[in-house]
Amino acid sequence: MKPAAFEYHAPDTVEDAVALLEAHGDQAKILAGGQSLVPLMNMRLARPAVIIDINRIHALDYLTPDGDVLRIGALCRQRCVERSAVVEARCPLLSAAIRLIGHVQIRNRGTVVGSLAHADPAAEATAVFAVLGGTITAVGPDGTRTIPADEYFVSYLTTSLDPRELITEARFPVLPPGAGWSWREIARRHGDFALTGVGVVLTARAGTVKNARIGLTGVGPTPARAARAERVLVGRAPSGALWDEAAEAVRAEIDPDDDIHASAEYRRHVAGVLARRALAEAYARTMEAV
């Protein structure tokens, strides 16, 4: 339970960090909150030769509303997002999901961007990022680029980020005016990874669903959007029967895995149950918002 030896760098600027990444490539790992990386290192499941600790790059510690997006810097702790009144007011889905990440001791160190970089398909932040259609800002030797959520997640713990790129920021769109939302997840114990989780953002007008976004965690190699279920909903009149129909569509389009925590069949069933509850709750919130 002690990590293997590594070379340690703690740059003060993004430029220096990127120069180190360029020099060391995939031999290097970025250390931000360290709440996923350090356990892997302690168990020697990860043995990076070089650690680039970005905790001294204070310019990356920010949480800034900017028009219709929340800009979250790479050093912004999960706890900071959880406590933010702006996030609570403009993107309550993110607030609600963040509170379920690990425990308070984890969230005091862990960063939202680090969670996206780690890309655990059972994580909360990744699913919220996918539901909202956020974007990644990455800086590499060739400059800065923006990666949309649907081009970012590739597979388990795998993203389209180049090993020489540093994520400096994640942008989470705020909820549209009048939108309802819900985050529902099932975990064996508070703070555990969810067996399955569902996030919903829904808008309704004149008695019909105008727009619906459904995202799931823990049901495949990446956070998933339930596109078919979303199409089932649009233009239809909200009802218990409609939520049931959407829940069936969710079950039909996901492909969860078995593991020691739950069977694939159980996850598929629960994903539908949670989707139904989340849709009903999100719709109820559209009524409150009016």
Binding site: A5, Q35, P39, G102, Q105, R109, G191
Partner: protein
């Protein structure tokens, strides 16, 4: 691998050392600073036994490298008691039999300290949620929750009493004694980055323990 010079403060006292980058903060606290009250259970961030305060926030000291804590202000379980007088949270754990083997207790105490600072009047559900990151294999948690519930009330009423004139001397009423102690001890938990805590005012006068410095 290169060694790194670090210096930091623990419970108001300065410590310094040379560490390999891979040395966790928990190991530095225990092995280099000789403060063995911080316990290591799982060493991968699950059990919470190694919880300490880093710049006022509860963190797992097994998931931070010591080199990252350069310049930081730490508080460990050794910083709770005032000499032989237990901190009100420790006293409540004692009174409510909230420990059996005691291995997990330092982590629970430090988690509780930060939690009650942020949520002085918690519900039982909030207490259970706050303690969820600390594992105890003896108690079944019931007595721990009772201890935290009781000390929350003690500290909240002490804070309320703090508005009245200071007590002249040691009081024989438990709540009042706790009130005096709470004023002395709780500011330690309130230290935040860039903020001024009063912990240094309470720092013992003897010279800091330094090993391998």
């Amino acid at each position: 691998m290169a060694a790194h010079e670090i210096s930091l403060r623990i419970n108001g006292k300065p410590y310094a050392g040379r560490v390999e980058a891979r040395k966790t903060l928990a190991d530095f606290i225990r092995e280099d600073c000789g403060l063995t009250g911080t316990h290591l259970g799982c060493e991968h961030g699950v059990c919470g036994a190694c919880t300490i305060l880093l710049n006022g926030e509860a963190i797992r000291s097994c998931l931070l490298f010591a080199v990252q804590a350069e310049g930081a202000e730490l508080m460990t379980v050794e910083g709770l008691a005032d000499g032989d007088r237990l901190h009100p949270i420790q006293q409540a754990f004692w009174d409510h039999h909230a420990l059996q083997c005691g291995f997990c207790t330092p982590g629970f105490l430090m988690t509780t300290l930060a939690f009650l600072r942020d949520a002085p009047r918690p519900t039982e559900r909030e207490i259970r949620e706050a303690l969820a990151g600390n594992l105890c294999r003896c108690t079944g948690y019931k007595n721990i929750v009772e201890a935290v519930t009781a000390v929350a009330e003690t500290l909240a009423s002490a804070a309320h009493a703090g508005a009245s004139p200071p007590l002249a001397g040691p009081a024989d009423v438990a709540g009042s004694a706790a009130a005096v102690h709470a004023r002395a001890a709780l500011p330690g938990a309130q230290t935040r980055p860039g903020g001024k805590g009063s912990r240094s005012e309470r720092a013992p006068s003897h010279s800091p323990k330094r090993r391998r410095s």
